[in-house]
């Protein structure tokens, strides 16, 4: 009680900030960022809908074919990378620093494999952005997602470097939490892109 009074009397400056929301400002910032990303993807999916459903463009337009199996392997890689980033976060929450490092490193490598596989797929796919509306929308949707994977990889790279430099602990791992949310979001978006572009 006396300590509390002393603290009360010694306090200078404005009172500590009061957040009425139960979400921390950092998580709220990432949430708003992802909300804007959802709208960006939404505009591209609208273009896809108009090309394929309203205008009735054949999907894929003959004589082109989509590499469904390669994209499926890529999907498996990306989904697995979400498991490893989740494992990394669970590890650091228990104070297992090496689990964090291994999880982040594996996630980064799998994300890199996804991008490299996609680049190889682009080089061998047999059509280009100028080959009709189908090709344009295909490259726009998968390319937009690829750009997000690149951003996610950049975040993962910094997270991994910080993990190896000992910046995270069981008490302080907010940087991993935020990056993990973004990586899962990228993964969810890829599943939607894969289903709409390759499967349906």
């Amino acid at each position: 009680m006396a300590a509390a009074h002393a603290e009360h009397l010694e306090h200078h400056g404005p009172p500590a900030p009061h957040y009425s929301s139960r979400i921390t400002p950092g998580v709220l910032g990432m949430f708003l960022f992802i909300a804007s990303e959802v709208m960006l993807f939404g505009s591209f999916f609208t273009a896809y809908f108009f090309v394929r459903v309203v205008n009735g463009v054949p999907w894929p337009t003959p004589p082109f074919h989509l590499p469904i199996f390669v994209a499926f392997i890529n999907t498996c890689i990306l989904v697995t990378s979400s498991f490893t980033v989740h494992w990394a976060l669970q590890s650091i929450k228990r104070g297992n620093v090496w689990g964090l490092r291994a999880g982040l490193l594996l996630t980064f490598l799998m994300g890199l494999s996804f991008l490299i596989t996609q680049a190889i797929e682009y080089s061998r796919i047999g059509f280009n952005t100028g080959d009709g509306a189908f090709a344009t929308i295909f490259f726009c949707l998968t390319g937009l997602h690829g750009a997000h994977v690149f951003v996610g990889l950049s975040i993962l790279l910094f997270m991994t470097i910080r993990a190896f430099r000992g910046h995270f602990s069981a008490e302080h791992h907010h940087g991993v939490e935020i990056g993990g949310i973004y990586w899962h979001f990228v993964d969810v978006m890829w599943i939607i892109v894969y289903l709409t572009v390759y499967i349906l």
């Binding site: 009074h5 009172p15 949430f31 979400s82 899962h184």
Partner: protein, 219 residues
């Protein structure tokens, strides 16, 4: 509705639900493309329904009580009042509670209409609250009490919480209109405040109509 991106664990669960939905869609599309489209519609609806029905973490927890502290040897009273801020019953109650050395903070929440609240057009309501507050503060000050006033948030609970963060009070006085005319009583402000704040609360009912009719008849 639950926010699926509130934390990494929540986002991971959302991803799992998406994977399950994707497997159903892919399986249906393998049989027939239109069956896949139907499965996609059902899967999206199912995930939205799941998010809607999922309880929000912590929503069932009891509210955290705010216990303000005052420096030793002081007695502080937080007064929350709307149009009743200058009411005779409130002034009499404060006169009874206040001892020499008592510090009073009078908070008058701005009272915009619902439309003005949503339009963020609260300047007029704040000016009205400020005017009422000035009259009351000068009246209480003339009786020898140490008193200051603030215009608070239009949510009276939030106004109390805000005031307690800068003014450690020993007790709270809430002044309202009588039952049936008070929106604060309809919202159970006194009960909610007792749940949320670990401080003694005095509820004063001010009947302005009765006071004005008494004044006009001179009784």
């Amino acid at each position: 509705m639950r926010n699926p991106l509130r934390s990494e664990a929540e986002a991971f669960r959302f991803l799992m639900a998406t994977i399950v939905g994707a497997l159903v869609i892919a399986g249906a599309a393998y049989v027939n493309r239109w069956l896949g489209v139907a499965a996609a519609v059902i899967a999206v609806g199912g995930i939205l329904w799941w998010l809607r029905d999922e309880p929000i973490p912590g929503s069932a927890d009891p509210p955290r009580k705010i216990a303000a502290e005052t420096p030793p040897g002081t007695h502080r009273v937080l007064v929350v009042a709307n149009e009743t801020v200058g009411g005779q019953a409130l002034l009499e109650t404060l006169g009874r509670i206040a001892q020499p050395g008592t510090e009073l903070l009078v908070v008058a929440p701005a009272l915009p209409s619902r439309v003005r609240h949503w339009a963020s057009d609260v300047d007029g309501a704040r000016a009205d609250a400020e005017r009422r507050l000035q009259e009351t503060v000068s009246h209480l000050g003339s009786t020898g009490l140490t008193v200051r006033g603030e215009v608070g948030d239009d949510d009276p609970l939030l106004a109390i919480a805000d005031a307690l963060r800068t003014f450690g009070a020993d007790e709270i006085v809430i002044s309202t209109h009588p039952e049936g005319r008070s929106r604060w009583l309809e919202q159970d402000l006194v009960g909610k405040a007792a749940q949320r704040f670990a401080l003694p609360i005095t509820h004063v009912v001010v009947d302005l109509d009765a006071e004005s009719s008494r004044a006009s008849t001179g009784t």
